[in-house]
């Protein structure tokens, strides 16, 4: 095994893992605050890539404005899903909230299915992003450099928001005890809307990166990616943002490295996340960086 190939694969794993991490942050934050596995999160990522494609092809936007357009759509979508589908159920059994999330997920998939048909659409990212460049014999694209870099910047920004801003304090208070925060003069619904907006934005960024790297999008793309990202969040310890990033990177690395070095197992690519997850949970039932799951916090 040549060292250049190894480095190449590490780069691939890093960019794949960063995309999982971006999506996993949204899962972990919503779970931390509402104790809800937000099954619609993967579909928000899918909507993000479709919105970007729509802006590129229909409005003929350049790439960056299309990116911004998609982010706005996703933020609006995330907030309205919370308002319409989750907010009326705040005091209901968690299972009905979960079923509603599955319903929202079906709704979004089939909405795109009706609007854009179920055939996969080609996604043409700007060629400057995806054209391969040679760097010390390693073939990579600009995208492979941008994705991890941007993910690190975003992660630092999210951590700064969580630990240094007033919103962050409120979010952590909400994750700690949702019923007491109202007494402290915090508008819980506003904070939850903020969490949804932030999570949807990150999912949208992840989705557009995904579409650039694997340039075909279809209405069901978000389901499996979303579940794997949720697996990543659980692996890292749900409720912990750092854990979500760690879990995402581990799963991305595993997928890329196992497929590269044991090609016979390539068919099980989508299962590694879960096999790995089961093993970690057997030894550490709350994930790598997780605390007691009854009172997980950021």
């Amino acid at each position: 095994m040549s060292s250049t190939l190894l480095i190449q694969q590490i780069f691939n794993g890093f960019s794949l893992g960063s995309m999982y991490a971006l999506i996993a942050i949204g899962y972990t934050m919503v779970y931390g605050v509402l104790r809800l596995i937000n099954f619609a999160h993967g579909d928000i990522m899918m909507i993000g890539s479709y919105a970007c494609l729509f802006a590129l092809n229909f409005f003929a936007f350049p790439f960056i404005p299309a990116f911004g357009f998609a982010i706005l759509i996703c933020i609006a979508l995330g907030i309205s899903i919370d308002k319409i589908a989750y907010k009326p159920l705040r005091n209901s059994p968690r299972i009905s909230l979960l079923i509603t999330a599955i319903g929202v997920s079906f709704f979004l998939e089939n909405l795109i299915n009706v609007l854009f048909t179920s055939t996969p659409q080609p996604f043409n990212a700007p060629s400057i992003l995806i054209n391969p460049i040679n760097l010390f014999d390693i073939r990579m694209s600009l995208l492979d450099l941008i994705i991890p870099t941007l993910t690190i910047i975003i992660l630092i920004a999210v951590l700064l928001i969580l630990y240094k801003s007033k919103y962050g304090i409120a979010i952590r208070a909400l994750a700690f005890d949702i019923s007491t925060v109202a007494l402290m003069g915090i508008d819980a619904n506003k904070i939850i809307a903020f969490v949804f907006a932030l999570g949807s934005m990150l999912a949208c960024i992840g989705g557009i990166f995904w579409a650039c790297k694997y340039p075909q999008i279809d209405p069901n793309m978000g389901v499996l990616i979303g579940l794997k990202a949720f697996g990543a969040a659980v692996l890292g310890g749900i409720g912990s943002v750092g854990g979500a990033v760690l879990g995402g990177l581990i799963i991305g690395f595993c997928e890329v490295l196992i497929v590269a070095f044991v090609p016979d197992l390539a068919g099980f690519k989508d299962g590694f996340a879960f096999i790995f997850l089961v093993f970690v949970l057997l030894f550490k039932p709350t994930g790598i960086m997780g605390q007691d799951y009854e009172r997980s916090r950021f």
Binding site: P93, I95, S96, I102, N110, T117, V234, V278, L282
Partner: protein, 341 residues
């Protein structure tokens, strides 16, 4: 008590009569829907045992259904059919070594296969609780589907197994198995094991403190529901006459989850009504996918519209009937006013 027994017998007679009525009154298409609903009733009541009654949020019935379906299909297909159908890889000598004409042996083998798998998995999945259990079981469901997809020498990969023979009196077999499963599940729920299951659901630590072996109770519920799901998987394989990995995606699990939550989590009556409403309803909404005319305006068929409407109805039901249709009560509780809570 006497009233309750008479009531149960009346329900039983009605169920048997409805099978005969279906045989003689329904069109072919309606009969197929009837059989499909019947199979989903088995699935729903058995899934409800682990999810609703025992409160263990398992998300892998799709795995057990797939195991049952594949075992039944491989047993029922004869050697030549297997050799003909396997196109990706030559069939493994092991699967050519067995074949049975007996439908019941094939179904039972499917059930026991799923049961064995559930017993092995229970050591892994019941080490974690709550939402962690959900994601671990979901993962096992996905892994089972990937195994079906990748061990092509056993399962013929993505093309799956086709032309699975169906017995002539299929309707009666499905009907009898459905009635037996519902009676079995109800008997478990009202036995001391059922009360232990409810205790585990309501407070696992307290149940443990009261001397209930919670692991054994959870495994019992898991195994029973896996066995019935395996049998139902075999029936499903014969009903569709083919088995492919795609059928047993986690969407299958979500569909079952919707059924039992819609009916009321923990209520067997609810599971039955939920199966009828969801399977019958999604069949009824099928007209939405067809081309239609609205006020003289011809629309071309919009595939996906049916599921779109279905999901909107689902969200509305969850928003306005939060504990499902029956809550956690049974039909007899409502009729005889003997509420559990």
């Amino acid at each position: 008590m006497l009233m309750k027994n008479i009531f149960s017998i009346i329900i039983l007679i009605l169920a048997v009569l409805s099978i005969f009525a279906a045989q003689y009154c329904l069109s072919d298409y309606a009969l197929r829907t009837f059989i499909n609903i019947s199979i989903f009733i088995i699935l729903a009541v058995s899934y409800n045992l682990i999810n609703g009654v025992t409160g263990q949020f398992s998300l892998e019935p799709n795995g057990f259904v797939a195991v049952g379906a594949y075992i039944t299909a491989l047993l029922l297909l004869d050697i030549e059919a297997k050799q003909d159908q396997f196109s990706l890889l030559d069939p493994h000598p092991f699967i050519l070594s067995f074949h049975t004409d007996s439908f019941f042996i094939a179904l039972l083998a499917g059930g026991f296969g799923a049961l064995a798998l559930s017993l092995i998995l229970s050591f892994a999945v019941f080490r974690v609780r709550g939402d962690y259990l959900a994601i671990v079981t979901l993962g096992f469901g996905i892994i089972i589907k990937l195994i079906a997809l990748n061990f092509a020498a056993f399962t013929n990969g993505v093309q799956g197994l086709n032309e699975i023979p169906k017995p002539n009196n299929f309707l009666y077999i499905v009907g009898i198995i459905t009635i037996i499963s519902v009676i079995l599940i109800l008997n478990i729920i009202y036995s001391k094991y059922g009360r232990a299951m409810k205790a585990v659901r309501d407070d696992e630590d307290a149940a443990l403190a009261m001397g209930i072996n919670t692991f054994r109770i959870k495994t019992l519920a898991f195994g029973t529901s896996a066995f019935l799901e395996g049998v139902a998987g075999g029936l499903l394989a014969c009903y569709i006459t083919s088995v492919t990995p795609e059928q047993f995606d986690f969407l299958f699990t979500f569909q079952l989850l919707i059924i039992i939550v819609l009916g009321g989590l923990g209520s067997t009556t609810g599971a039955i009504i939920g199966a009828i409403l969801v399977i019958g309803g999604s069949e009824w909404l099928r007209f939405l996918d067809e081309p239609m005319s609205i006020f003289g305006y011809e629309t071309k068929g919009l595939p996906g519209l049916r599921m779109l409407v279905f999901s909107i109805i689902l969200i509305l039901v969850m928003l306005f009937a939060r504990r499902g249709i029956f809550g956690d009560k049974e039909l007899s509780d409502i009729i005889f006013k003997r509420f559990k809570k």
